[in-house]
Symmetry: none
Subunit: 200 residues, 4 copies
Amino acid sequence: MTDSRASRHDSRTEAIMKAALDVALEVGYARLSIEAVATRAGVGKHTVYRRWCSRGLLFLDAVLSLNTEGLSHPDTGDVVADLRETMTKAVKLLAHPPWGPLYRALIGEAQHDPEVAAALNRRFIEPQTADTLARLKAAKEQGEIAPDFDLDLAFDILSGPLYYRLLITQQPVTDDYIDSVLRAVFAGMSPRSRPVRRRS
Amino acid sequence: MTDSRASRHDSRTEAIMKAALDVALEVGYARLSIEAVATRAGVGKHTVYRRWCSRGLLFLDAVLSLNTEGLSHPDTGDVVADLRETMTKAVKLLAHPPWGPLYRALIGEAQHDPEVAAALNRRFIEPQTADTLARLKAAKEQGEIAPDFDLDLAFDILSGPLYYRLLITQQPVTDDYIDSVLRAVFAGMSPRSRPVRRRS
Amino acid sequence: MTDSRASRHDSRTEAIMKAALDVALEVGYARLSIEAVATRAGVGKHTVYRRWCSRGLLFLDAVLSLNTEGLSHPDTGDVVADLRETMTKAVKLLAHPPWGPLYRALIGEAQHDPEVAAALNRRFIEPQTADTLARLKAAKEQGEIAPDFDLDLAFDILSGPLYYRLLITQQPVTDDYIDSVLRAVFAGMSPRSRPVRRRS
Amino acid sequence: MTDSRASRHDSRTEAIMKAALDVALEVGYARLSIEAVATRAGVGKHTVYRRWCSRGLLFLDAVLSLNTEGLSHPDTGDVVADLRETMTKAVKLLAHPPWGPLYRALIGEAQHDPEVAAALNRRFIEPQTADTLARLKAAKEQGEIAPDFDLDLAFDILSGPLYYRLLITQQPVTDDYIDSVLRAVFAGMSPRSRPVRRRS
DNA sequence: TTCTAATCGAGACGGTACGTCCCGTCTTTTT
DNA sequence: AAAAAGACGGGACGTACCGTCTCGATTAGAA
């Protein structure tokens, strides 16, 4: 049995990330210490520091190691329905326990630590954004979106309100809220613009 | 004897908040310690703890003690122009040095500390929101906004993208960006909707 | 109305000393703080500091305020019996709970604070010593003590062993021990010297 | 490869005890703080707390680390002369600067802290006492001390007066005083007893 | 197999900051 | 005028973690 993958090195790495999540879930990221993580993982502190140069980056890896299977980017031909699906799934995963508080903490950490901010963008935000942008591009080509509409901006306008609720007002991000954002953004605030049809 | 109000108590309070801002600007909020603030303010640590029960709440008060004269909520009759003014001023104040990093740090702290989150909302977000909502309500009554448009939602859709850039992608929030958000939100993404006129 | 003795000032003083003893008995002198005493006495700290310039001197006064009625200096004509009485009473009072630990603490404090040491000597040790020295002098005149024996030294030799046990070895100072000290000191260690008669 | 014993651990321990003595000599034991000792030793506070659980026990170790070469327990056949030698040397070391004040402070601390008291007895008082008791035993066997004289008591009677002067009256303990104690104790106070010969 | 050489756990280490306690002084308010 | 109440600057407490640094004790691949 020539080594079942998961070299010693990798098994340590995983144990540490697992321990980091456990500790974060138990006492919150604010009180997560490298010492506690190392102890919990049954590992020397050095072994942690050898892999991550800051608490934030360890935490980032730990959070991103969670399976993102919950996220989906379908293309059924109906862009509003597809976006609703994407946003609903994402919100369900990112904005609710148990990962909601951790994701918020991660973004919070990014406000203090540029390295975390950069890595979070590069490794999570940008890939997810790219998928959605591709869907928006297809929609524009299908004539579902005005041809002069900047799609990057479209993404911001769709995502922004959800993050605003998550991070600022901390009001719950419900399916209805997502729905009303979609309707409003597609219709526009101006009275001349036409509303999209309500969800059946 | 009008008494030069600024009792000893108040003068300490101000000195501490001033010191907190100084320290935060010098080393960043992440490295701000109560100890350093107290020393800088020429005050015992207990004098700080007597007033604030956490670093976050002290920092919140310190940041909010800055004059918010930069913020404006005009009503010229042109809601888009007025919102542009409000948003531009707010962004100029909150998203750029020297206060930009501090405001971001404050929101970051709010992700870890529910008390900070609540206080930030109650003392800053909600009042500012109320002013803008009043302006949106007037606009709706004037027929500048579709009569069935939820104004709370409108506020989220306008603010969200700015916060998204500030907190997540960390791309600069320029006047042009604000402008394009306004146009997009008023016009809607749907191809049938009519664009608002471009800024002259 | 020439004031009914126990002016406000004196009543405070007594309340403070009482409180000091209470606190010392509860948590030990080592953990006695002026703040605790003041609070216990229902008095401002200033009122304590106005009367005593150190914790040690307050404690000294508090301990010495205890009635020393337990101490006696009889003169029955039998110097050994009289000394036995004096020493037994003193040890009973000073070396046993509840005052034993306090007296030890007071002497302990005197090792750190010269003012306490001086005051303790002047106000307690010397007066008690004087009484015993007077008794020894009478005994010498009666021929019960060798005429060339230095009485100051005699006092040291009688007291020393008791204090040695109290402060150093912390062995209990029993009546039997006092008795054997008296016998030994009167008889001398030298084999030629004659023993005093045993206590019946 | 004789290994220059003095592992890192031991070198810290010694540095801390040295620093403790330095600080105690400079500002007195009453004002000695763990913080100051650690700083002086160039060591973290935890490194001190890891070794000693109280200021008193650290101080005890520091004081006892002084070489006690000054103490001697000779046996020349003349018990009085030998005791005089032992007592004189001990007093010279323990009752005079620079160690006098520290030894007094140590005994003072023992009055507040039972752990210090116990350790002081076990590690210093008892060994020294044992040596002297052995000498007294030899003397008794040689007929220099009355055969029915309790030697433990003898030790108390010889030591007590010295400690009494050191701790209570704070009169200087001179060679003459030691001499007169010896004479008095050997001769006894009783007029019938015979004086030992005076020191030539 | 035997020997490097790396890795590991364990945790000591110098250091910073924590939040608390108490010092002795100073203010404020009440009586 | 004296008091209680307690705010104040300051110093130290004992603790928690930081990130670095020894330690031996496993490994594990190269000789």
